[in-house]
Structure formats: C-alpha cells, structure tokens
C-alpha cells in the first residue's frame, strides 16, 4: 500500500500563503503562550514550525494584573495576565535579536488602548529586521469609547485595521475576539478595511469563584478562557468566518493534537495557532505538522489547502439521499 502510494503521490505540500507571507507549514505558536520564543529553547524546535507569534507588545512596558492570574477549569484555563509585556523598545532591543536566528516566520502581536497606540507601535515594527507580519489583538479596551473592546464593535475594529495598514507595509492579521453575537459582522468589516488575514479566536470571557476563600479566583474577577474546552466554539466561528470573507483565516482555540488542527483546516482555516497546549507540553506544536503530513499521505491529499471541506456537501449534509421527514427544518440547535 505504502509502496503504491509513493508511486502515485508526491510528498504532501504543507506550505501556505497568508496574504503576501509564505509559511513553510500552517502551524504557528499563539501569542501569550510562547513568551518571546527563547523560553522554549531546547524544548521545542521552532524551526519545524510555520511561525511564532510573540507575546502582545504595547507601546510602553506593562506590569500586568495582580495575582492570582490563573485558574484551571474543566479542560480549560482562565487567565488574567493583563497583557504584561516588556514594551516595544525593549522588545526590539532585547528580544528580537534572538528571534532573528530562528528559521521560522516571526509575527509580532500588538495591542493598544487607542487607535493611535496601535498605529504608533505598528510604525516601530515596520522597519524591524526579521519581523514578517503583525497580528493585531483587538480584544483590548478602547479607552476613548469607555473601555468597550475594539473587537466587539465592527466600526472600531475597522478603524484599527485601517490605521495599522496605513502605517506599515507588513502583512496585517487582525485577531478577533469571540465575545460577540455575530463574529462574521466584525470579520467582514475588518476584511473590507484591508486586513491581509484574520485570526480567531482570542479567549472567551469567563470567571471562577474560590468557594474556600469566598472570593473570585482571579484578582481581576474576570479572565480569558482558553484550552480544549473552547475548541467547539472556536471551530464554529472559524467555519462561519471562512464562509464570510475572502481573505485567509487562521484558526485558534483549544488545539492540542494534529487531529484538532485538521478539524480547523477542514473548516477552511489556512493555518492554525497553538496556545494553551504549549503551556501544558512545550513540545506540542512540533508534532502537529508531522501529524498533518501523515494524514495527508494516508488520504492522498497533495496540498494542505485541499483539506478544506467542500461547502455545498457539508452545509447541507446529504446523509439522507431520499429522506423526507415531515416538518423537518434544520435547526440552529
């Protein structure tokens, strides 16, 4: 069988394009779960990945939120790090040099509390050697608009997109928050505003209470939920956004195995990011391109983009060739 397969198929091609950016494979490390890369030295071979997205960077260093910042939940993790980071100056000076030596695409995640802050930091990254793209975290509070997250307001999201696109020549990926009624509305706005790609999802807003001490388990009360628990929600949103926009979509949320990644690629994501799973086992991401390749070989799939399920068949799953059930409208639930 294997012999026969080798004769008819070439080795699968895992490389993909995210706008103008070519990645050797569709597996990236998600922002906030891989530090600035160097922390993984010796535990994960970054060269095997499509890319690394470093911890969200702001214009000035941020101390982050008071502890406790973490609480484990069933198959999930709540965090309220508060976007602690070293700031753009220190990033460029202290972190970037090490990252330049890694043979994978470096993407910098940025954040701000105003459109101007996003622009300013994008400008500083524009000329930085080694930086291949910018991922824009729009889950941050829009201080001018009373603290509502940029990402929950399609207009505000589009404004950030336009501002960042204007100040940089780098490919711009807009990272969406899932805490919205209709994610396709934000996605469409961001796409028309010129984003090169969309990544989703960021964490879902959650909380936990410590019944022993009788107070919220996080000092910040609310935190962001990530990990396997959120995978079904993330996959649904990726499926929706893929069908709503024409730009590449990067899937994120609870991916911890090659099979999880394959679900997102089948939903139509061009690439995936691995977050919490790296915290649980630092080497997780390394196995994912290998697992995808194995699946493609076993199923004679040549290009990674061919994993995507055809829309027609799946949106109206033809499981009943001739199956009229009285009054059987498909339900959203």
């Amino acid at each position: 069988m294997i012999h026969q397969k080798n004769q008819i198929t070439k080795s699968p091609d895992l490389s993909i394009n995210i706008g103008p950016l070519r990645l050797k494979n569709p597996v990236l490390l998600a922002s906030g779960t891989c530090g600035y890369g160097a922390e993984l030295d010796g535990l994960l071979d970054l060269d095997l990945l499509g890319g690394i997205i470093v911890k969200g960077i702001s214009i000035r260093p941020r101390p982050g939120n008071p502890p406790p910042r973490l609480v484990e939940t069933p198959c999930g993790l709540l965090n309220s790090i508060g976007l602690e980071n070293v700031g753009i100056e220190s990033f460029l000076r202290d972190k970037l040099p090490w990252l330049r030596n890694v043979k994978t695409s470096l993407i910098v995640n940025i954040l701000g509390n105003s459109v101007e802050e996003y622009s300013e930091i994008a400008k500083k990254l524009d000329g930085a050697e080694g930086v291949k793209a910018i991922e824009v975290n729009i889950s941050c509070p829009n201080v001018k608009a009373g603290g509502i997250a940029f990402g929950t307001d399609p207009e505000a999201a589009a404004n950030v997109t336009r501002a960042v696109k204007k100040t940089t020549g780098l490919p711009v990926i807009i990272k969406l928050t899932p805490n919205v009624t209709d994610i396709t509305k934000v996605a469409r706005k961001v796409a028309s505003a010129g984003a090169d790609a969309i990544s989703l999802i960021n964490t879902l807003l959650g909380m936990a209470i410590d019944i022993k001490s009788r107070r919220p388990a996080l000092a910040n009360v609310f935190g962001g939920l990530s990990g396997p628990a959120i995978k079904p929600i993330a996959l649904r949103m990726v499926w929706q956004v893929v069908r709503a926009v024409d730009i590449p979509v990067i899937g994120i949320g609870g991916i911890s195995t090659p099979d999880d990644a394959l679900e997102f690629l089948m939903a139509g994501a061009k690439a995936v990011e691995i977050g919490t799973a790296t915290l649980v086992r630092p080497g997780t991401a390394e196995d994912v391109p290998a697992g995808i390749r194995y699946y493609m070989e076993a199923n004679s799939i040549q290009n990674v983009e061919d994993l995507r399920l055809p829309d027609q068949q799946t949106l109206n799953p033809v499981r009943y060739p001739s199956f009229p059930i009285e009054g059987l409208p498909m339900q959203p639930l």
Binding site: G32, T33, C34, G35, E39, L40, G42, L43, K55, P63, G64, N65, P66, P67, P68, R69, L70, V71, E72, P74, C75, G76, L77, N79, I81, E84, G227, P228, S256, T276, T278, L279, V280, R281, P282, G283
Partner: protein
Amino acid sequence: MPKFDTPARIVEQTQLTHGIFLLTVKATAIQDSANPGQFCMLEVKYNNSRDPLLRRPLSIYKTRANGQISFLYKEVGKGTRLLSKRRPGEIVRVLGPLGQGFRLIDDRPQCILVGGGLGIAPLLLLAERIKQSGKLIILIGAGNASEIPTIEDFSGLTRYFHVATEDGSLGQRGMVTDLLAQTLQEITGMAQIYTCGPWPMMKAVYHMARRKNIPCQVSLEATMACGIGLCLGCAVPRSDSHGFLHVCQEGPVFDADQVHWEYNQ
C-alpha cells in the same frame, strides 16, 4: 540551563502518612542537572484525558546518582489525588529542572534552614549541599508530627537540628519561628537564612531576619500553567512596587526583600 521534558518511569510511590506521599521516578537527564531549590512540572492527567489540564509544580526533594528523583507531596486536590493513584512501572511526564534554586553565599559559613510543613521539600538538597561546606542549622515546624514524616532525612545531617510542632507531638511545642528566635539569640558571626513554608511563616521569618540584618532567601509558590516563563501567570508583587516577580523563571527562590510581603495571598 538545559531543561528536559521526559516521560519518566515511576520507581516508587509510597504513602508516608495520611495524605503525604513520596514519589520516585527515573529521569536521568533531569537528575543530572538539578540544583537545590529547583522544581519540576508533573503531568497528572491520566492517559489521554485532558482534565485536569495543567501539570503540577513539585520541588525536587531528593536525587540519587542512578538517575532517580523523588518528590515529597501532599494530596490537596484533584491533581495531587490523581498523581497519588499512579503506580510503579507507569509513566508520568516530567519537565525539569526548572527555575532558580538557592544561592550559596561564600562568606556565610552559618546557614539556617527554616522549613514549615511540606515547605521542607526544597530544603533537603540544599541541606546536603551546605553540609559539605559550612555550619548547618535546621529548624522545622509543623502542626503535628504526621505532617513531616520524612524528618529523619534531615535530622542526621547536622547536630544543630530542632523541631517544633503546634501540638507538641514532636520536638518543642510551638512554632518554627520560636525556634528561629532562640537560634538568632544564640548565634554570632555571619549567617544566611533559607526558608520555605506557608506565606505567613515566611513573612515572619523574613521580618526576624531583617531585624538581625541577616540575608534571607525564600522559596515561593504561585499557581503555574507552564513553569518555564511562557504564560507570565506566576506573578508575585515586587517589594519596589514596580511590577511582578515571576516565580517559575526568576524564582522560585528569591531574596526575601525583593518580595512584597503585604501582598494578601
């Protein structure tokens, strides 16, 4: 410093007293490079289950030249309960050695180790190391004797060894800080304190040390997700009010005056 994430075979799992276990695994690479005060992240989930999701941090209690590492741990919740069910021959994933351990200070010939309850776990390797070079004073406290079942591992290392229990079931009745107060009155010359235990105990030890101008190193705990500096979750406020210490990377051992002790855990 090299770190390793290895599947480790369980060599021994012993329940010492109610709820306290000694786990020994074979993890040669980790054992080879482990220093006193360092810790490991142990996988507690069973087989391919994903709950509990995170690994649990445990201090390296003992190492043996044959590649074995031991952990001394207490069953406090879900993760440690699952870990305690694992049997010899089974495999657990262990990531280590992690963090910055205790620093030996050359001009401090007298070292005072102050351990509270299972806070003794990171102190054994340190005690063994100090024993080779200087005067070793070990002070251990606990609620009762059953909370410190491995006390013999320490008592043989030095003749300056004292225990206090709150119920008097072992050693002097009282707190380990009583022992420290006595010790601080008796000693002369340069000294260094190393401590690990509950936060209020460490805070008290720090303040006593400060009054006597003795430097003090503390081993802190924090909830951890990664143990290697990826998530920034293990923050503890700095004494200078400029942000946070990160227990897994800059610690778990810190100079006590770096820590914001008013932080209400």
